[in-house]
Each structure stands twice: as C-alpha cells, then as structure tokens.
C-alpha cells in the first residue's frame, strides 16, 4: 500500500489553480487532498465534502451539487471506479456476466454520468492498482473517457492516481501516459499490474512526497477539519493521535 499522505499530497497538487472542488462520500483521501489544497491556496479554494456538516454549504437539497456543476461552479471532482480502462472509461456498476445480473456488482454510477461531463477537471482515484481494476475494456461504461465532437462536455478526466503511480490522461488520444511512479514502484511493476496499454515518457520522475509545509498542514488544519467526517482516517493517517479502529 502506498503512503496515504503521499496520495493526499499528489491529489492536492492536481487541484492547483482550481476555485472550487467537490468531494463525494466515503472519500477520506480526496477529502484530505481538497482541504490541503485549500490551505496551500490560502483559503482561495472552495471545498465541499459530502458527508460533512461543516465543510458542506449545500442548502438546496441533494440536487445542489449537480446543479452547481451544471452552472460551471465546480472546477474539480474526484471519481473512483470499480473498473477503469485504457480509454479512460469508468465502470461503477458491475462486471462479469450480463447487466444487470453481473457476477460482481458495484454500488452504482452515482452522479458520475453527469459530473464527468460537467466538471472540467475530473481526477480518477483508485488506490487498488491491479489488473482486476485497470482493465483493457470496462464491462459497463458509467462515464466515457472521451466524447465525440458535438457532445457537450466541459472537460473530463485529466489524471488517474493509484496506489502505484500517476497517469496523465490525453483526451485527444483517449489514452493514459505514465506521469510518475510512487516510491518503491518501477516502470515494470506498474506495467505488470496494469491491464491496459499506456504511454511511457523517456524520463520518469518519482511522485514527490509531501513537502515539510504540506506535512505541517496535514497534521494541523487538515487533520482537524477532516476528523469531523473521517475521524478514524484522521487518527490513523494524520496527526490526531492513534486509533485501533480500521480506516474507512
């Protein structure tokens, strides 16, 4: 498993320049990343964390997140994926067998079939980097990696962050390119665990660890705020003391 603090820092770097970011439910690492990016931006990043009471300013019901995205008021959004393929397609529904009676059922598409179109900067995040997850072709397209010309889309996937590496996504080519590997990983280890083909650069950097400034923020304000929503995560990963409960 990659160092979760490295993942938080990596996702936070991908939010640079955004004015607003929304984080879905059950997403402690993206949530912490958004809060870290807010600190790094001196507060000039508007963060909503679903499931939070305090980092959540919605007052128009469940539709407001999607309405805001439709208005162009959400610059960045994180998406997971039961399966992700080399064309950037994301499957949140199921795999094996025929829909709807898949052998393995995932929770469902949530808002992704809309958010993937309405949000300019979509960041895929899936810690489990294996051939089970990163497949040649998803069994069900919850969000397509790219859309034909003429289909309304404000942006879409810009990157895929896993427990092993960072991929950049090239929408024109509909193809990922390895951007950096996390400490301990290599070109070969990534290739061995990835079920789809992708490009590799000549120079392959290592994903940079959190800076000292980031670490201070993670253990201070980020930990304090994220603890409201993810107390066990904050305790286990950030600087709010020990916990023997599992990280959710």
């Amino acid at each position: 498993m990659a160092d979760p603090r490295l993942l938080v820092a990596t996702l936070a770097r991908l939010l640079e320049g955004c004015r607003t970011v929304a984080v879905g439910a059950l997403s402690p690492i993206p949530g912490a990343a958004a809060l870290l990016a807010r600190e790094l931006a001196g507060g000039a990043l508007h963060v909503t964390v679903l499931g939070s009471r305090k980092t959540n300013d919605f007052t128009d019901g469940g539709r407001e997140l999607f309405d805001r995205a439709g208005q162009g008021r959400i610059d960045a959004f994180f998406l997971g994926g039961g399966e992700i393929d080399g064309q950037g397609n994301v499957n949140l529904v199921g795999t094996g067998g025929d829909y709807p009676a898949h052998d393995v059922r995932f929770p469902g598409t949530f808002g992704a079939a809309f958010m993937g179109f309405a949000v300019p900067r979509v960041i895929l995040f899936r810690e489990d980097h294996s051939r089970r997850v990163l497949v040649p072709r998803v069994a069900f397209i919850s969000v397509p990696g790219t859309s034909p010309p003429g289909v309304w889309r404000r942006g879409g996937t810009v990157a895929l962050v896993t427990g092993r590496c960072v991929f950049a996504f090239d929408r024109a080519k509909a193809r990922f390119a390895l951007a950096s590997v996390h400490p301990g990983e290599t070109r070969a280890s990534v290739r061995a665990n990835t079920g789809f083909d992708y490009d590799e650069p000549n120079e392959l950097p290592e994903t940079p660890p959190p800076t000292d400034a980031m670490k201070t923020l993670l253990d201070g304000p980020v930990a304090r705020v994220i603890a409201e929503t993810y107390p066990r995560f904050a305790a286990a990963v950030l600087g709010t003391g020990a916990s023997n409960r599992r990280v959710n």
Partner: protein, 272 residues
C-alpha cells in the same frame, strides 16, 4: 387533510400493493420504523425509487421480498460495503433494476413537480446507463438541433416515505435543508412521514421554521416514531448504530442469516 399522530402500522397500511415509493438516501431522513412496519405488513410488488441512492432501507425491503422494481443511482452500505440482499437478489433476477444517475432522478422528480412530461439533462451520452434505459431518449436540443441532449421522463411516485424531526398538528413537516424531501413530496401523489416528535405550534407561523417546512398539503399522514431512523443516524439527533450495522452485514451474508435478522429485529417486535 393530513392524518396526524396515527400509528406507524396505520401509516404503512396506506401503501397499497404495487405502489411506487420514493425514499431518501440512508443519511438524509430514512424512516426505518415505517420500513420495518412495511415488512411486517408484507405489502407486495412495490417499486422503490431511491432519491437518488439507498442502502440499508432498500436492502431490507429487497431481502424481505417486497420489491419488484428498483430505480437508483447507487445502492451501498457505505463503509459497510455492498448491500448483501440487493446484490444477491439482483444476481438472481428477483426484481427489475433501473440504474440511473443522481441528477437524472432529481430531474425526473422535478419534471413531476412542475407537471411536465420530461426534463433535459446534460451528460449521459455514450454511457451504458443511457444504453440500458429504453425509457430515456436523446434529442437534438430544440434551439440547436446539432446539440444532442438526453431527456428523462417525469418520475411520479405514489408515495414519498421519509423521517423528519418535527411535524405540527396541521401536518406541516420540518425538513430543514433536506430539500430533496420537498421535491420528493411535491412529485409524489402523497407523503407518509414519521417524525421524532410533534410540535404544539404552527411551523408556518414562525418565518425561520417556515423556511424549512414542507406544507401539510403534500402530506397524507404523520406518525410519531422516536428514533425512527434507527439503526441509521438522523441529523444531529443520533448517530448510526455501528454495532447493529455490522451485525446486519454479517447476518445478511446468507439468506438464512437475513431471515434470522428479520426475526430478531423486524418481525418480532411490533414496536421496533
């Protein structure tokens, strides 16, 4: 006229076999008290519309065999993982599944709320969500036919079923910022509501409370059910009963275990 302060059993008796029921997500005011009463009553052939997702509530109703069709953007027990009865019944084809996406469910309810037959929605083009929805369509936008856009039909539930903090004796219900409950109620033919408690005054008299109040016009009946969302959490009033959820997941891994869960926590206790 809303019927106020009836029993939870009487409340769910208003739901006929075959009704389409709209329910909120597990974190936003689920009436688990009414859900258990519904299982005890054994109402059959129900459709379930998750607004826009569900978890324990859908899983329990599916496991108990009440549901023949389900529309949802997702079904999950969150940190407790996949919904076991949902997953099992889906694989066995025991109900008709309509996968959706959150804003499509909101838009369909808003279409019903406004009395229009459909609502346009961005996104979706090129997804298998759309491919598996013969009831949706892609049209050229009326003001720019070269711009394709998806339209979804109005969603008109027979009943919106949910739990709220407070109702008054006229049947006005305080929902606070859970405005998806208002949309559900506007779209549904009627709303059946359990509440933590009754307010002696008139919620519409106070402009501050009125801002978060669903008018009684939409409400068919209200039953008082303290801790009515248990074992789910409810706003600031109480948190999720984590031990109970863990038990639920463990037992529901098999049909036999789920039957034991029902016996212990649903069928046994009339007041549970």
């Amino acid at each position: 006229m809303a019927a106020i302060d009836e029993s939870v059993e009487d409340l769910v008796a208003r739901i006929p076999d075959g009704a389409l029921i709209a329910i909120p997500p597990d974190y936003a005011g689920v009436s688990m008290a009414a859900t258990r009463a519904l299982v005890r009553r054994g109402t059959r052939g129900l459709g379930l519309l998750a607004v826009p997702t569900s978890g324990l509530q859908a899983d329990l109703l599916i496991g108990a065999g009440l549901i023949t069709r389900l529309e949802a953007a997702a079904i999950t027990l969150g940190e407790y993982g996949q919904a076991p009865c949902f997953t099992r019944a889906l694989r066995q084809g025991r109900f008709a599944m309509r996968d959706s996406t959150c804003p499509a469910i909101h838009a369909g309810l808003q279409a019903a709320e406004k009395g229009v037959p459909f609502m346009p929605l961005r996104g979706l083009i090129g997804t298998d969500v759309l491919a598996h929805r013969p009831d949706w369509a892609t049209i050229g936008s009326p003001f720019d036919p070269a711009d394709p856009i998806v339209v979804v039909p109005a969603l008109r539930p027979d009943v919106a079923l949910f739990h709220a903090a407070l109702a008054d004796r006229s049947g006005n219900v305080w929902i606070g910022r859970r405005r998806e409950l208002a949309t559900m109620a506007h779209a549904a033919a009627t709303s059946l509501v359990t509440v933590e408690s009754l307010d002696a005054g008139d919620l519409l008299d106070d402009p501050v409370m009125a801002a978060g109040t669903l008018p009684a016009l939409y409400v068919g009946a209200v039953a008082v059910a303290p801790k009515g969302a248990w074992p789910l959490g409810f706003e600031d009033a109480y948190g999720m009963d984590h031990d109970h959820l863990a038990d639920y997941v463990r037992l529901s891994a098999t049909e036999e275990g789920f039957a034991r869960y029902l016996d212990a926590h649903v069928l046994g206790a009339r007041a549970a």
